[in-house]
Symmetry: C2
Subunit: 159 residues, 2 copies
Amino acid sequence: MKTLFQYNWQVRDEWFKWCEDVEEAELLLVRTGGVGGILHTLFHIIDVEWSWIRVMQGKPDFQESFDDYRSLTLVRELEAAFKPEVEGFVLNWKDEMENNIFTDTAPDGRIFQDTWGEIMRHMIAHEIHHIGQLSVWAREVGKTPVSANFLGRGLAKKK
Amino acid sequence: MKTLFQYNWQVRDEWFKWCEDVEEAELLLVRTGGVGGILHTLFHIIDVEWSWIRVMQGKPDFQESFDDYRSLTLVRELEAAFKPEVEGFVLNWKDEMENNIFTDTAPDGRIFQDTWGEIMRHMIAHEIHHIGQLSVWAREVGKTPVSANFLGRGLAKKK
């Protein structure tokens, strides 16, 4: 579980570096699919990851809008602000947290229950899915996307 | 680990159903990014998943080309042929297989070593990444993509 988060964080860092060589207008351009743009996607990934960590712990969620983060620098600053709390939670994950229950109430009153293990896997899949979208948009920009390869990143579990 | 494979298989099935309502020409159209098309991506996911299962076990790999599978029916038949072996391996995964070593030699003679655990996570991330690409192309076709949500799929680990 932890190594898939570490994979996501490595890949995300590489996308941030990738963005340095792309015109900001391209990063902000509204595109087809997903949340509709490269930088908006990175913002969304960071927002969603942090939000789940917060709500599992019963803490208040982040309610900002991408409108206030429309530059690479601002999105990176947001990530730097959130990272310690996210890392602290993920890297201290214990198997016995797997079946903790998170209960949520939808706006229409329906009640949802998820285990923390499901939420952690949801967070992992959420980021990888959105990064897949970036890889298509990178080609639209005419650039090679960041490698999505999990292998060769030194992410074998310690024995 | 197993539940992320089960997630991928559920999502993949839903994409196959999604494809039923799309013109075959759209499924075959060469698109920007990834392996360059909707059906080709599904073929590639199935091919890569099975190939890793085979090579970890020291069995011969699949060497077919997408040129021979250019219809929804043919790709589904391929999946049905591969599924039992893939499922058998994944659902019988044991933690003690985590650090088994797979050694591969690149065409230039360099030697790569990966643990089986890394390969399994690579397979998981590989499929989710490519499905993210399908979600962009679905919008290009003018259709709503399959949900990538992990939650609500009954994929909590058994206690």
